[in-house]
Symmetry: C2
Subunit: 159 residues, 2 copies
DNA sequence: GGGTCGTAGATACTGTATATCCACGTTAGA
DNA sequence: TCTAACGTGGATATACAGTATCTACGACCC
């Protein structure tokens, strides 16, 4: 079981966009260079985030990506599921209905205990990620680093 | 992100062993046929469970696999991590220290916020699985099915 | 109004990890 | 001693994450 590497890239980029002033879109090239990431691969994830309605993309010169909503309305879970998909890592193979010891259909009317446990665990995982917003993450970024980023991307709100 | 298919197979087999009477080992061939699973592949997972100390394997004629401890001392998490490994699905790539916007080492003394959130989610997931034992799962198996299994594997405790 | 550049978007290809299978060696019982 | 079970290693097939490339669109400049 391994989470796509794109999730971390997407989270970092979303976090950086949350740090930057609202009106200034950052092009994917800038994002890629800022973190030393392969630009083509990052493009795929930024598209996924855009399709999910988390980012807003504007083409043309001086275009780029920016958050589609306030940073306190975007959760870590939103970003993760936009990139990695909402599916549960546990996929049922209906083992109980196969082989010589197969259960009869009338014994499978209710979801089996194993599947129930796995669904519960997945929900616990999701809840834990849903509880944190980008806004909360920004506040934990070291002050010195935040200051440098603001200087880099033009912190002047009177644009 | 996808969980290994072997996890479900391992869980079903462990559950069946928990249903069967304690002293009777079941050979892997019987387990495989009971659920219609590829025997060679199942062998790999049963070995993993044995190495983890959850099952006890006895070679030779009338040998097979049985639980190494009582069913109420084996959790779903035990089985899952024995087969799929204990690693967190989120692997850190240290993105923050790369690229033109790299953070300085003195800004990375504490684990970053993103990693913290992911670790927390993983722990929530594990706790949810640790809370359920094989014994509890057995009680949720339909009575008719349980009866059939006992009849099949010899329920006589006076062996 | 037309040309040009810089952006996102879509598509095709490659590499790696997972799932499956097989063949041999080892151990314990009859 | 022969048989039936587990143990181990490696070869093969396949699915998916990761990579590179090409196309379409919109703003800006002339
Ligand atoms: S529903 Fe339960 S019994 Fe059926 S295949 Fe899934 S885990 Fe196994
Ligand atoms: S520790 Fe945090 S900042 Fe560093 S690579 Fe991991 S998620 Fe990113």
């Amino acid at each position: 079981m391994k989470l796509s590497e794109g999730v971390e890239q997407g989270l970092h980029c979303a976090l950086l966009l949350a740090e930057a002033p609202a009106g200034v879109p950052l092009p994917r090239r800038v994002l890629a260079e800022h973190y030393g990431l392969p630009e083509a691969y990052l493009a795929k994830h930024l598209q996924a985030l855009t399709r999910a309605g988390l980012l807003r993309a504007t083409p043309g010169p001086s275009g780029g990506f920016r958050l589609a909503r306030p940073a306190d309305e975007i959760t870590v879970l939103d970003v993760l599921e936009a990139i990695d998909g909402p599916a549960s890592p546990f996929v049922c193979q209906e083992i109980r209905q196969q082989g010589t010891g197969a259960a009869r259909p009338e014994e499978c009317t209710r979801p089996c205990a194993i599947a129930t446990v796995m669904v519960g665990a997945h929900q616990a995982w999701r809840e834990s990620l849903r509880a944190v917003t980008l806004d909360q993450l920004v506040k934990r970024v070291p002050q010195t680093l935040r200051k440098r980023n603001r200087a880099k991307f033009g912190s002047d709100p009177a644009a």
